[in-house]
Amino acid sequence: MSQEPIKLGKRESKLRVDPKWADVCLTCGTCAGGCPVTGVDGMDPRKAVRMAALGLDDELINSRFPWVCTLCGRCERACPMGVEILAMMRTARGLRERDKVPGPIHKGTMMSMERGNNLGIPYDDWLFLLADMSKEMEDEGFPGFYVPVDKVGARVISTVNSKEPFGEPDDMKFWWKIYYAAHESWTVSSENWEGVTWGLFGGDDESMKEQARRVLENARKVKAEVLLLPE
């Protein structure tokens, strides 16, 4: 049976893993020993590194492991040889075909690119929600409270995690109460206010950059001194 040999090298490897990794990684298993998902699917970080070093790129990219891994970084922190396990795992995620990215991670990233937030909350609904909740806050003992939107000259501009306006709007009030008590001059944006970057999890650098650019553009527009991402 003839089978083409797997070529190893930075150029051939999709994961851009240098063959010297096979020697750098001592296979000591410190990474695997401290990883809470070791054993799931018979995998662990040590095996993932070995797969990459041996050129089994597609097997790793198409496995669940890079997604079951939470990219927490305990493995890399513990590694005595400084193997960059996290970067490898995220690269593997990024190489997954986009329509095969698990869950809403990729769809949310595309939604964010298209509509300015991961969950697709429309512009009008966002503003209505803020206006309505501003009234609620006044009734709850914060006279004079309102959510300043696109307020030029505000010191602090804050992004918002879209799950809050979508499903848990009252959770936005925690920061609002703090701002009220501190007499802060603050604002949120009418558009592109999303603070959660799913491109980070999906390995999508381009979308990540675009989202950061939009957030910075909003901050510059209102001349804010402080950009807060309350994640």
Binding site: G34, P36, V37, V40, R64, W67, V68, C69, T70, L71, C72, G73, R74, E76, R77, L86, P102, G103, P104, I105, G108, D125, L127, F128, L129, A131, D132, M133, S134, K135, F142, P143, G144, Y146, P148, V149, V156, N161, K163, P169, D171, K173, F174, W175, K177, I178, Y180, A181, A182, H183, E184, V196, F201, G202, V226, L227, L228, L229, P230, E231
Partner: protein, 182 residues
């Protein structure tokens, strides 16, 4: 600036006043999110461990660390987008380490400075591992403990005028029977 620096600024400058009675007698513990710890250190050269503890210390009389802690702390199990992904059983299995750590402290309050971590601990681990805890965002803990003094009449009037102009500018009209969108 990040959430820790802003909250610390408000507390240190006396811009917010804290009612230490609010959580008196309740033992708290803190969770170190990977993104503010290991990953922040790697990306920006600075991890945020002391800050979480300093703020908690301003609000709670008694708190204890988990073991292991800080750079060796366990992930809640929902990092890297796992909260949104379909691997629920794997996520709960992953979280057993965090649940064990929390249980061992005997704490009633868990302070989580991250959305994902809070959701995983509050909505998943508490139920799955029968934890007797209440979970708070770090900023929620502060918001709950703040002594709020209503603004002066002058400030309120100014804010009303600004708010009115703003909502008019955006064309937002609130009807009495309007309900927030689902």
């Amino acid at each position: 600036m990040n959430i820790f620096e802003l909250m610390m600024e408000y507390i240190k400058e006396g811009r917010v006043k804290i009612d230490r009675e609010k959580f008196a007698g309740k033992l708290a513990t803190v969770h170190d999110p990977c993104n503010y710890g290991r990953k922040s250190e790697k990306a920006f050269g600075k991890a945020y461990y002391d800050e979480i503890r300093w703020i908690t210390d301003q609000i709670c009389d008694t708190w204890v660390d988990t073991y292991p802690t800080r750079e060796n702390n366990f992930c809640c199990g929902a990092g890297g987008g796992a909260w949104a992904m379909p691997y629920t059983n794997e996520r709960l299995y992953y979280g057993r380490k965090k649940a064990e750590q929390i249980e061992q402290t005997g704490a009633e309050i868990v302070v989580a400075p991250c959305h994902n971590c809070r959701d995983q601990i509050m909505k998943a681990l508490t139920k799955e591992y029968d934890l007797e805890i209440e979970t708070f965002y770090l900023w929620e803990l502060l918001a709950e403990a703040i002594i709020v003094e209503p603004w002066s009449e002058e400030e309120v009037e100014k804010a009303h005028a600004e708010a009115e102009a703003q909502w008019e500018h955006f064309g937002v009209e609130l009807d009495d029977d309007w309900e927030p969108p689902e």
